[in-house]
Subunit: 653 residues, 2 copies
């Protein structure tokens, strides 16, 4: 006997309130409020197979309202995923349980994205939907043909990034994106009317979305709305009128259910109200079986798909791309072997463009873009066509003035798989994208950030546009590799390194100003993160450590020191995180204790103590920049060989 | 003879194209395109007096599209402000000129906000409009009765923060806010149609705005639209249909005019087309006179206002608040004198609330709020009433889930003057607000950020919600004081310090978990940034340096070390920037060379080298957090006296 929709939904409600109760921490309101909607989605609409969570053509489901994590944990368990087990759920929010406070893609298959920071799940889903349409165009319907589903709360819709995500999705006509809005009229502070008067459907329509509404507790009405959403060619917002904490008789409909355990008395009352006599974490057999049957819906669909794939002429390429492997034969290294031997005395943003000209034809999964700074970020390679609603096969996205939305969308693309997204803005605006950059790092997403105009070297635009603290504060994000190459060879190397790292993001900080080429290829030195670019001639007393454009200043300083008979190494440090990962011997060899170690970087000096030691000197900028042409600026801030050399000599005395 | 509107506007155009030409850098397109609109605004509508740029009841004008900086420089010069002089303008974008690449409020009176980072000027204007209505309600129409005007481009409207700003303004019914949208259909990458399909007026209407459009080159039509905007009780978006670079005959209407000098040939052609025979930087006398007359419009209005003020019963209080002075008599110190001697063993977020309960009645200019985390941030003091469209006298803003919008609005409030804004979110979401925090620091705005849940100590919410790199990377923003108090006394002290600093923002990082009170008042020690909280008992061999909740771990470690006969100081370091500003002697006394210096902070260890030196030890967390209750978390990350003490003893051997 098949259990009713209500039974199925109540299983979610029970697990949510019981797990939160056991943890004495968590968010029961959303899972209880959206249990009916989720039941309809997972039992009738969502294309998935718990036996193969990585099935490339599965629908993607993103719980943008990540605090309602028990919703997805319950769904994964009930539909038959290997994890979370009921023991995992019992240990919700305990050390070592994959059922973390917020859903983490690296903990559980079936969790497509790490969510919780509001607004970003929705925006990542937009990126997933872009990747789907792009791969559909590159391959065909037989391999790529799936929907992206999102559950969002009011928080996700109120965040600024929502505007960017909605605008991008509407502009690109992502009709396979369907957002289930948990319209419960409650936020943490109370009624939504405390803080907003927006007509949300009207806003979505203004950006080219289709909007349909339903009673979020009437499964037939929910299904009708989903059918309408699927039938409409536009992205759809499905307004689900719900009651937060539905089933908790004394607290439902209030913010009291949002972010705290209901308490034993209310849980007991909810059991009564829901007619749910089972003990905590126990699911009656008929309900368990019905859920498992729903989870098994996708098995035959997946088998058919796998048969199509097996016989498909593009099978090998498709599998390579979905596995995230670069094209065979060390294509990246080969690509650079030739051109880097011709000196390119250009800005590193330009040598990045040259690298892209070489790479993008060889690595077809690279999908580029810029937040309206294409000509400044040099992100568009030769021959790259725009990705538009008329041509999803294009490989360049005009993201518009949407740094955060772009970055979150790139996270979604990387998580979807099959593409390697990169996108540009000015380094100073990494601040706008920072929450998404952090999520790239946390959720192991291979996203490549191309951040140009990386110092006061951008000149006249002035302090609002000049990064100061950005390089160092980005380096502090765990699992983010920040690259600041000093010439065309290092730029090519850094691109290769970023592409080759499957388990996290890379960020390239690139100059606006021209830089002489210092190397002629050869060994891949940037892989070490820092290395001796030039060895002292006289007996070594000084080691100059610099990055990017300041390596050129370091070389001038070294020249002057050598003129004084003072030997000075120049160490280029394009990537501190890679340097930190080298052996102690290697690091001690490059940065020896005996020498005066001196850092030069046009940013905050704080942090460089790690490499110069107490006795070292640190040249940089510890206040805001200024508006002027580049040369007077570097003079003004004392970042010239003239200014630095005597200070080093004085320190040696 | 009075010059025509066209002549007046062409003076702006000429100055813009000539200054950009001289600098060979800058953005002529926007000033040329919006010259007619700006002329109407400044000659007929804007209430201002160049002789008294700080006149409290002036209209506020924010150039949100800050790249068009030559527009405001031209306007300030033409209407008779003391600066910029024509020489300043000739030196546009040169070192030392107040005419920086983007407008900077600290360079020029008449520049109300530092703009350029897109979207923020608009959002700051929302804050200014809130401050205006609030002060109007606190005082009356005779003292506070002005409008806020904004010029915004498509970039400002496309940024995510615009959604937050529009939502807040619509919700609060800020009818005195009028936004002139430079609708030129061009962005840097080309036509707006490359990246957006949005019906912008419909979106604004959906959030409770009034929208009116006009021909941005027809001054009568512009005036009609402004009249309608002023008459409507809602905030108004005035859609100005314009041609970017209007007047440059071969380039106008294209992105080529946006961000580069037009070139000598095109400038000559523009002179021809505009009928503008004057040499660069020369303004014909009749045009100069007409502009000056327009600038003089406000003088009598201001004199009348000053007369009203002179006779107003609230004159002294009004002047105090607008000057940014705290109430007389060291009210802050007095306020804390009493209660801090009663131990408050509560979370620092809670002691912050206790401080607010004391402070907000004494400092009526404090205007609080939270981005939908009121109960978690503990930002609402006893008796604070909500600021709503029905009661602008309220002193608590329910900002909604709008961290960035809140922060930018607070910048606007602080820049407006008369209020001291503070607002809360979780520390991890400082990333969402980071671009506005940076602008607080850059533009010297006294904004107080209340950021709770400041470490893994928040527990179960897990890595998405646990700050790791945040404390250190915030400390790297110049002119931002980051405070992390260790108990109720330090929390009170940090509040006092943040309030007393008129020239920049403060950020309080506060715990979710309870903290024992360690001090009993007395001297204001936090002012030093770092100080010896507890002196070694045995001969000092170790100095433990910690912040916030980790000070309590340091004390336990010190206890254990003393049990081993090892003397250990405990240094509390609530504010590194203040510590760095102390004398070398003081710093050397607190952090002596002879001892093993050990830092303990539940965040990245990078950066602490500055205080521990090479030989020191640094305990912290250099990867992402985890989801679990607080105790197992601290154990997991090795941040316990049990884990730390033996490592220190080993290092001493």
């Amino acid at each position: 006997m098949s259990a009713s929709d209500t039974d199925l939904a109540n299983a979610i409600r029970a697990l949510a309130m019981d797990a939160v109760e056991a943890a004495n921490s968590g968010h029961p309101g959303m899972p209880m409020g959206m249990a009916d909607v989720a039941t309809v989605l997972f039992t009738r609409y969502l294309k998935f197979d718990p036996a193969d969570p990585a099935w490339p053509d599965r629908d993607r489901f993103v719980l943008s309202a990540g605090h309602g994590s028990m919703l997805i944990y319950a769904l994964l368990n009930l539909t038959g995923y290997a994890r979370p087990t009921m023991d995992d759920i019992r240990r919700f929010r305990k050390l070592g349980s994959p059922c973390a406070g917020h859903p983490e893609n690296f903990e559980l298959a079936g969790v497509e994205a790490t969510t919780g920071p509001l607004g970003q799940g929705f925006a990542m889903a937009v990126g997933m939907a872009v990747a789907e349409r792009h791969l559909n165009a590159v391959f065909d319907d037989s391999l790529v043909d799936h929907n992206t589903w999102v559950i969002s709360g009011d928080g996700c819709l109120m965040e600024g990034i929502n505007h960017e995500a909605v605008g991008l999705a509407g502009h690109l006509g992502l009709g396979r994106l369907n957002v289930l809005w948990d319209d419960n009229k409650i936020t943490i502070d109370g009624a939504t009317s405390l803080s907003t008067s927006e007509d949300i459907p009207a806003r979505y329509r203004a950006s080219g979305w289709h909007v349909v509404s339903c009673d979020g507790h009437d499964t037939a009405d929910i299904a009708r709305a989903m059918d309408e959403a699927l039938a409409d060619p536009r992205p759809s917002l499905i307004q689900c009128h719900t009651i937060i904490g539905k089933g908790a008789p004394n607290k439902q409909g209030t913010s009291a259910t949002h972010g705290a355990a209901l308490g034993a008395a209310e849980v007991a009352a909810a059991r009564e109200a829901l007619g749910w006599p089972s003990a905590p974490f126990e699911i009656p057999a008929d309900i368990r079986d019905t859920w498992l049957a729903a989870g098994a819906r996708g098995a035959s669909v997946r088998r058919d798909w796998q048969e199509r794939l097996a016989n498909h002429s593009d099978r090998v390429e498709f599998e390579r791309r979905m596995a995230g492997d670069l094209p065979a034969g060390n294509v990246v290294a080969k690509a650079f072997a030739g051109w880097t031997s011709t000196p390119q005395n250009v800005a590193s943003r330009k040598s990045s463009e040259l690298a892209l000209d070489v790479l993008t034809p060889l690595v077809p999964e690279m999908l580029g873009g810029s937040a309206d700074l294409t000509g400044s970020n040099n992100t568009k390679a030769k021959g790259q066509q725009p990705l538009t609603r008329a041509d999803y096969a294009g490989r360049y996205v005009y993201y518009g003035i949407r740094e955060f939305g772009m970055s979150a969308a790139m996270n979604g693309m990387a998580l979807h798989g099959g593409v390697i997204p990169y996108g540009g803005t000015f380094l100073v605006f990494s601040d706008y994208a920072r929450p998404a950059i952090r999520l790239s790092a946390l959720q192991h997403a291979r996203v490549i950030y191309v951040m140009t105009h990386d110092s006061i070297g951008l000149g006249e635009d002035g302090p609002t546009h000049q990064p100061i603290e950005h390089l160092m504060s980005l380096r502090m994000i765990p699992n983010l590799d920040v690259y600041r190459p000093c010439d065309a060879v290092e730029t090519a190397e850094c691109w290769a390194l970023a592409l080759e790292k499957k388990t996290g993001p890379g960020l390239l900080a690139l100059s606006r100003q021209n830089l002489q080429q210092l190397r002629t290829g050869g060994e891949m030195l940037s892989a070490k993160g820092g290395y001796r670019l030039r060895e002292a001639n006289a007996a070594r007393r000084v080691v100059l450590i610099a990055t990017g454009s300041e390596v050129h200043i370091a070389i001038s300083v070294a020249d002057r020191l050598e003129e004084h008979g003072i030997g000075a190494d120049v160490v280029s440090m394009p990537c501190t995180s890679r340097f930190d990962a080298q052996s102690e011997d290697y690091r001690a060899d490059v940065l020896p204790d005996g020498a005066l170690r001196v850092s030069i970087e046009a940013g905050v000096t704080w942090g460089w103590e790690r490499y110069t030691g107490d006795a070292g000197l640190r040249f940089g900028i510890d206040g805001f920049g200024a508006s002027a042409p580049i040369e007077p600026l570097y003079e003004h801030f004392g970042l010239t060989a003239d200014a630095i050399t005597p200070q080093i000599i004085a320190a040696l005395d």
